[in-house]
Symmetry: D3
Subunit: 192 residues, 6 copies
């Protein structure tokens, strides 16, 4: 049971990277304390790295009707359905931190239908799961149900688009056998 | 059976768009003869528009071991599995054009396992479908099988990453109920 | 990418066929302009040929509450679910011709739930898909829902029986790897 | 728990039937001792009745490499997968009678993979189940595997075509909620 | 088609068994007339034998709102979904005997949704099937629906727990390839 | 997001329990430091409590070829497939403790096919998952594959029986909406 590599594909040295990517990675390291492996894995393809993180920032840091914790709930629930270890563990950490609920990530990952969330959040996750697994069935009735829970159409786009982005991200993580940093497994488990 | 709207979400006027996006769209219009609806649909969210098309260009126009027709085969086969009308119809058109095989798109969309393609292309599509539907099962044996067909590891990344990008794209098209332009349905059907 | 054979099984010469079958085939050729491959494939087994086309005529040319285009919608939607290339392509052509809607066949084949059809037609296709995939769950409530859309019980038999006949037909086409004639791919795509 | 009707649709009186159908039914009654409900159910639609039983006779009474018991095995295994009560019970009776194995029908219906059958019969049922559930995946390798078990190509057609016919028959029985005659449940259970 | 062994694992001689287990088996033989193979198969592991039959007695012979026939319906329906020959055949016999309905077991096993049972029993089986296949989705609404049919919460526990016990039992029977005694196939088929 | 109850069903007071059950629970509390909620949930039905824990002890504390960590791997992998929060979290804790691998439980729960385990353990989990989801397909070839990895037939029984017991346990936990004690979420996450 030796150490697993970060990725099935080559992981570049920081010194070999284009300046903008190296600086972005060093910035993350400074704020987080370590470099999440997703940055090193995607750095193998600088153009895809730039597009992926631009997309990520556009959706995950955007203002709107979804809280940070709710965005992470969407990621955790749909990534669990896709059996994506990297995303379940790393975004599980973010969910614990943003929600300040240390048990919530495991609850959402294993069975979100029984997690202690609001009816609004349940409707949000039901729709995210529909987009994750059967997006072609998304109907006007589904939109109406979300509106009844107070979601605007822009919020609905966000729910669907975050799910869509992690449909991509989960597949890249599974393709590359990307490993979560050990730090993520324990972050936010003990309330401070 | 009235005309269907392009998208469930607002579609901006060209004049209301940021300059870079408007110019990109006008460029496409000039080269293609019309504006594919995917540009208008994504323009509702300029940051996501930029990230999406940057990702698209990085993968679909990249040099490498996959031909243009082979990249389109991946899109058509996996988009059909996701029941994404926009991508099946528009990329079906591109597949007909790049392959110069007017029947191939319908064959790949309906049942790629019986399409008249090479063993190498069959292996490529089998792997793409695995990433599309069960990416967590992608194993070292699957990589080895692709290498035996002559694919490099960079080609394997391309196969997986194109599939991952259209996992996103299919979900966005289904979320927005994006309609293919009528032009796509007939492009490339008659050999020239 | 050489020419694919019509069928995995022997295809008889017209001169070797029983008179009634040869005459039926020549009649089709005269009216259609070519001999659809389904006639040549089934001609390998004259008794089954006769039974199949008798069944086909009984259901597809019968008077009743379903229009010709609606019957073809049922065939296209359920054949797509069964990944039957021959039926999707050839009956897609008939659907375009009968409906005079050149885009409708691809819309119904890829995702009938978002095709521009009436509520009545949507209910018809929902029931056809239930019979195609989970016929044992067809309940009295399903019958009632169809009656509310104006279908008579004889219409419901027709919907179910057309679906059942193409459950057979799709499996025979997939068994024999039956190829659609090239003509079908383009028929009805340009409104006249 | 009252008596269930034979069919959801009208069941004609013998006296109201076309002569050929009435005579066929009386013939069956004379040889079998009762009228199986499938005859009465299909008699609601004389043209479909004639086509169905012509198809049935063409496949089930045809000479060839499959024994009568083997044909019934195909029907029982695939009808169980389709949850078709009429076909499981009535053809289970025929399987018991033709095989002289009173336990075999229940074994094949519940889990044919552990039934006490030969390797050749197991290969036959594996292929029948493939045609029943995923016919589009039937490949040249599947044909080769059957040939290695001694099946001719005509036998393979028979296996596939019997499965295809009961794909139709199961759906008609489920559509009509057709009830098996009580006699079928016990026929052949006690070896004579 | 030789005789199949009772179990893939060793079946102990009665004389080699612990006294309590031998006496329990002899008691069953005296009351039933034969020793059901489940006793001999589990006797290979005396501690598991004792736990299994203690659990079985606690649920199947307990007083409560479910009749004996209803408990057997649960076993037959869920065991059929699990393709467990032993349980379908042996508990099918018990269902025929307790219900005095000689056709009911085959009806419930093949398609319980069309079996001639009460609405209450249908709701009971729907819930049992949910627990059998997707227990994580069991919701408060499902409990409410059962209460509306007159089930107490203790009855709901019984429905779920019987299903859970046979989830275990079906897997053990399939693991061991346990064969039903021939007697079970015919018991209760002829009303007395 | 209030505190969730331990169980949907009544949870008895320790003082109201039969002596043997109360003593067993107090013993667990003394050794573990808290009372796992599974004891309190099952205590609602003393006979089932006794049978369940007798079965559990017979399989989980039995000598044999499987290590304690391997038994917990089986529980975690199959319970994740069944979306059983209680078992994933509580047995995840035990897996971390017995394996001394603080990341292993999340890896096995999310995607055991990429967890850092031995080939032997992978074969063990593949078989456990087969029993969990499609036990009727367990074949002699599957047994042979396990023997080639060094498993005895008694080990194979253990793998299958542990899976079968947790098929029951997962369904009871989902039926009762049983909540894991908060302690389990963090146990064994920091190597000592």
């Amino acid at each position: 049971m030796s150490e697993q590599p970060i990725s099935r594909f080559p992981v570049p040295e920081l010194t070999d990277l284009p300046d903008d990517i190296r600086e972005q990675i060093l910035g993350v390291q400074e704020s987080t304390g370590f470099v999440p492996n997703v940055f090193l894995t995607f750095a193998h393809r600088p153009d895809e790295f730039r597009a992926f993180f631009a997309y990520y920032d556009a959706l995950m840091t955007r203002d709107g009707g979804l809280s940070k914790a709710e965005r992470e709930m969407i990621v955790v629930a749909t990534s669990a359905a896709n059996h994506c270890l990297y995303c379940v563990v790393s975004h599980g950490a973010l969910l614990r931190i943003f929600s300040k609920e240390p048990l919530l990530a495991d609850q959402v990952a294993t069975n979100y239908t029984k997690a202690p969330i609001t009816d609004r959040q349940r409707a949000m996750l039901d729709f995210a799961m529909l987009i994750a697994t059967d997006s072609h069935l998304a109907s006007d009735d589904d939109f109406e149900a979300l509106r009844e829970q107070g979601f605007s159409d822009e919020d609905i786009w966000d729910i669907g688009a975050i799910t869509a982005l992690f449909a991509l991200s989960n597949r890249m993580a599974n393709l590359t056998a990307m490993q979560p940093n050990a730090e993520f497994y324990t972050m936010g488990r003990v309330p401070r």
